[in-house]
């Protein structure tokens, strides 16, 4: 059966994920070492240790994301968190930065290393480099590849691949996107936050909901229309007499129906996005996808079940996998 890797922004979400059937859970410490450094989210050192113990007792693995890029001179925090993850019993760490990968390989050689999507390794040469140089055993592929491209990559590499199948969809080259920095001075790569809440303001203006990021109005949603996340890449802008989504519509990924094709392409693990989401979201999405991977493994038809109401824009796309998106 394909491995289902599920998000946990809090210990409660971790419990919800494991109880709903997650084979593995990914999570991070409550600081800038992970790319979901949001207010009220993530794990203290003690919560990480007890969460991992609880997950292990129920047969689930825990993967710790340390997937931001340390600042020069500030590496000590990331190094300490690597040691914390190993001491807590993490099954693997998810890393993006080459310096941190080298440090992990040298100082924590027994801890499994996964390459984060933030490293944006999207071709066999890049993946094989990370495998040879740092002993990476799994790569999380960027959300820019078709299923055929994933199959072609898998034929030329010896490490496992993990792909996103559900949740928020970055349309940029992950780990390289600085859009958030232009408006706020903070980015997911360096600070663990895309469009940080501290720079977001909402206002009801007449019938519209206006969303501002760093003082810039990035969309204005009419009454009864779904509201998107306040990210620049999903912003709706006016230029001259035209108004529209410059980069991508507010829509999120749902590749459930592609699971059989992804299995055939040699993918090992399926990842669900959403560490910033509630335990209600985690439980419902994980249950749906666990039923799907079990059906695929048993050769049964894919179970029905729509999750679009949980999605940004309340609409879903197969993203780049099927290249039907604008």
């Amino acid at each position: 059966m394909m491995e289902l890797v599920c998000p946990a922004g809090t210990p409660a979400a971790m419990r919800a994920a494991v109880e709903a059937g997650a084979h593995a859970v990914y999570c991070g410490f409550a600081d800038e070492t992970n790319a979901r450094n949001f207010p009220g989210l993530n794990f203290s050192t003690e919560e990480m240790a007890s969460g991992i113990a609880g997950a292990h007792a129920r047969g689930a693995k825990v993967l710790v994301a340390l997937n931001t890029f340390p600042r020069a001179g500030g590496e000590e925090l990331w190094h300490r968190r690597l040691a914390d993850a190993e001491a807590a019993g993490a099954d693997a760490v998810i890393l993006a930065d080459m310096g941190l990968l080298a440090h992990a390989a040298e100082h924590h050689p027994r801890m499994r290393r996964h390459l984060s999507v933030q490293a944006a390794a999207a071709n066999p040469d890049a993946i094989n480099f990370y495998a040879e140089a740092f002993g990476v055993q799994r790569v999380v592929l960027p959300r820019v590849l078709t299923v055929d491209e994933i199959a072609a990559i898998n034929r030329e590499i010896d490490v496992e691949t993990e792909v996103f199948v559900f949740g928020g969809l970055c349309v940029m080259a992950e780990g390289r996107c600085s859009l958030s920095s232009y408006a706020t001075g903070k980015s997911p790569n360096m600070n663990g936050v895309c469009s940080p809440a501290s720079h977001v303001a909402y206002a009801e203006e007449g019938q519209d909901l206006a969303a501002r990021l760093g003082g810039f109005t990035i969309h204005r949603t009419p009454k009864n229309q779904p509201a998107p996340y306040p990210t620049l890449c999903k912003g709706c802008f006016s230029s001259g007499d035209q108004t529209g989504h410059v980069f991508e519509d507010p829509v999120s990924l749902d590749a459930k129906h592609l699971i059989p094709a992804l299995a055939k392409a040699g993918v090992t693990a399926l990842k669900i996005e959403g560490r910033q989401r509630s335990r209600a979201y985690v439980g419902e999405v994980v249950r749906t996808f666990r039923a799907a991977v079990e059906a695929v493994a048993a050769g049964r038809p894919m179970p029905e079940g729509a999750l679009a109401r949980l999605s940004e824009g309340q609409a879903a796309t197969a993203g780049a996998y099927a290249k039907t998106w604008r």
Binding site: E19, F38, S50, G51, G283, A308
Partner: protein, 182 residues
């Protein structure tokens, strides 16, 4: 692909109107006892708020004729009911069912934001921190109130179950897990 947003129950307008003349003091007294209990039993929830643990949150159930204030200033938790929106660093507005459903693990806060069932104003960071802290606390309001009710707990649970059935509002935790988790 789209499907419909979850139907968040709205209390009938007549019920809101009927509640309008009722005094708020008994409710504030109950809320004060509840807030002391929550602070004692769920210290992790307040730790999780971090730098936002000294702010005021106006919780505005749009189908009830009152606004609740959660005031965390001074290292204390105070919950009170008001006729008009009190001063606060952040305001969250929506049907009472949305607040209770989120608290009890039935609804996702982002999904309620996407569907416009919830409206957020003011300090967005503080709102996110509060939402995440409450979600992690795995609260069960009915059980908290039942413990406060002493010998009336059985009656209260039965009344709440009936109210839940009639209204569709989620009044107890829906995702109770197997025991043994740390």
């Amino acid at each position: 692909m789209t499907d419909h947003a979850p139907t968040i129950p709205r209390l009938p307008p007549l019920l809101g109107q009927a509640m309008r003349p009722l005094p708020l003091l008994p409710l504030t007294v109950t809320l004060s006892a509840l807030s002391r209990r929550l602070a004692k039993r769920h210290p992790g929830m307040f730790r999780r708020l971090g730098e936002h643990g000294n702010k005021r949150f106006a919780l505005d159930p749009t189908d009830l004729p009152m606004v609740f204030l959660m005031d965390l200033r001074g290292g204390r938790v105070r919950l009170s009911a008001h006729r008009k929106a009190p001063a606060a660093e952040a305001r969250i507005a929506g049907p009472i069912a949305a607040f209770l459903g989120m608290m009890h693990g039935a609804y996702d806060g982002d999904a309620l934001f996407f569907s416009r069932d919830l409206v957020v104003e003011g300090d967005t960071s503080a709102v996110l921190a509060l939402r995440n802290a409450i979600d992690d606390a795995e609260l069960d309001l009915t059980e908290e109130l039942a413990d406060l009710a002493g010998p009336m707990a059985g009656f209260l649970r039965a009344a709440v179950a009936q109210a839940e059935k009639q209204s569709g509002v989620v009044l107890h935790r829906v995702d109770t897990l197997a025991g043994g988790w740390a």
